[in-house]
């Protein structure tokens, strides 16, 4: 019965219950429901698509193996988010990556470049600058900035995920934006100096 009723819009608790009862399709639903969010959370942390792809798969393998331990004390996405953030932080600590490698991910970008070369180049430069700016942030500031700015999580949720105080998270967010601002300012100044 539960197999018939389950779909991507089903409640998390129902899907998890079905999975714990041995319904393998339930896990596929979890993957389809959360894969994009998990990917982007990781991608904005590690900045590289291939690293993000690998980590996203690892996060779902972890969820698959530990889903029976999930007791529903927090929101399911918070639980997934915590795993994703921890995997990303571990990866960053391992790689000690400070400068992002820019990778051309999509061939369609190249064809569109021909039409509006200047605009596309400008967008490409902006993306590069943004990724470098985020990449320059300390790990914790980066995590808080991504969770607050891109995922719009409350400070309470962030503090649960990071296991830190709410006030600390607010300060981290403020300093993260200030650091991005400084990085962009410095970059633009150097560009202006190069043009002159």
């Amino acid at each position: 019965m539960s197999k018939v009723n389950l779909n991507i819009n089903s409640d998390d608790a129902e899907i998890i219950e079905a999975f714990n009862k041995g319904n393998q399709n339930a896990f596929n639903l979890i993957v389809r429901k959360y894969q994009e969010r998990v990917y982007w959370v990781i991608r904005k942390m590690v900045l590289d698509h291939y690293d993000a792809d690998d980590l996203t798969q690892e996060v779902f393998i972890k969820i698959y193996s530990s889903l029976k331990e999930f007791r529903g004390e927090s929101k399911f996405f918070t639980y997934i988010y915590r795993i994703a953030i921890n995997f990303s932080l571990n990866h960053i600590a391992k790689v000690k990556k400070t400068v992002h490698k820019t990778v051309c991910l999509d061939n369609t970008d190249v064809s569109s470049k021909d039409k509006k070369a200047d605009e596309e180049m400008d967008a490409f430069e902006r993306t590069k600058l943004l990724e470098e700016a985020i990449g320059s942030l300390p790990e914790q500031q980066r995590a808080v900035f991504n969770m607050r700015y891109y995922e719009n999580l409350s400070y309470e949720e962030i503090s649960v995920i990071m296991n830190k105080s709410t006030g600390g998270m607010k300060a981290n967010y403020f300093h993260a934006i200030k650091n991005i601002q400084k990085f962009v300012k410095k970059h633009r100044l150097s560009e202006l100096m190069e043009q002159n």
Binding site: Y39, L105, D106, D109, G167, K170, K178, Q181
Partner: protein, 274 residues
């Protein structure tokens, strides 16, 4: 009018003020009041607004088109691979779960066997030592009473003390060399009765020493007999049937020596045995 928020708290809330994410009206009022009076804060606000503008207009490069369509397939493949690896590890761990206790039990059995064997050896050694000590305790006092000593040697014993001749006769394992030595000494004593002064001197100096040495040898002899593992030593020290002829010739040689030389050899033999 002072508010419950300090400048640092107001600064930290500026990003949320810009993006309209503050629900607390009192906090919003405090920020706006501070912005009216604090030019530095206004500058911060403007810079933050421009940064948010940059963030809004900038985005990340998107992944390939069918990336999210293929991702569940890749995840399932990896899960299957992981499960295969895990089942192999589980089987391996099952193997170790059996093997480790088995090895432990075998080791314990070996240790117990060895320790019991060592205990038996120790008991045997202790018994031998105690017998030896008992014999040594029975050993007569050296030259306290010259008459007693001479009586013992000549077989005219007192009630409590066993004559040395009897001790020698009782034990068939006493080497012939020493039996002959003793006999020789007794005969020498009898032949030289007339020379009382020399006999007395001999009795007082040489005989007690020989007697002491014989007692020790007897004690050692008992130890050696009790130790079943030291047959070879018994054979070497006390000459079995195979070496009898050779030992007899050695006996003869020994008897031809002077008492001082004999005593010296006995001393050396005793030292070597120790």
């Amino acid at each position: 009018m002072k508010t419950k928020y300090n400048l640092e708290e107001i600064k930290c809330n500026l990003p949320d003020y810009i993006s309209n994410n503050i629900a607390d009206k009192e906090l919003i009022c405090s920020i706006e009041k501070e912005l009216k009076t604090n030019s530095e804060l206004r500058e911060d606000l403007e810079e933050l607004k421009s940064t948010f503008g940059f963030l809004k207009t900038s985005g990340f490069q998107v992944p390939p088109d069918n990336y999210f369509a293929n991702l569940p397939v890749k995840i399932n493949e990896r899960i299957q691979t992981t499960e295969v690896d895990r089942s192999f590890l589980d089987r391996l761990s099952l193997f170790w779960k059996i093997l480790i206790p088995a090895i432990t039990v075998i080791l314990i059995v070996i240790l117990l066997f060895n320790s019991s064997k060592n205990d038996t050896d120790k008991i045997q050694t202790t018994n031998a030592d105690s017998n030896k000590n008992e014999l040594r305790q029975k050993k007569p006092e050296p030259v306290e009473n010259k008459n007693n000593v001479s009586n013992e040697i000549n077989g005219n014993d007192s009630k409590n003390k066993i004559p040395l001749t009897k001790i020698v006769k009782k034990d068939n394992n006493i080497p012939k060399t020493f039996r002959k030595l003793h006999k020789n000494n007794v005969e020498e004593d009898q032949n030289n009765v007339e020379n009382q002064s020399s006999i007395k001197e001999y009795e007082s100096v040489v005989i007690p020493e020989i007697k002491e040495q014989l007692s020790e040898l007897l004690a050692d002899n008992i130890e050696i007999i009790e130790d079943s593992n030291s047959d070879e030593r018994v054979d070497v020290m006390y000459s079995g049937d195979d070496d009898e002829n050779e030992v007899e010739s050695l006996d003869d040689e020994f008897l031809n020596l002077t008492p001082e030389q004999q005593k010296e050899i006995i001393d050396n033999l005793l030292k070597a045995q120790i």
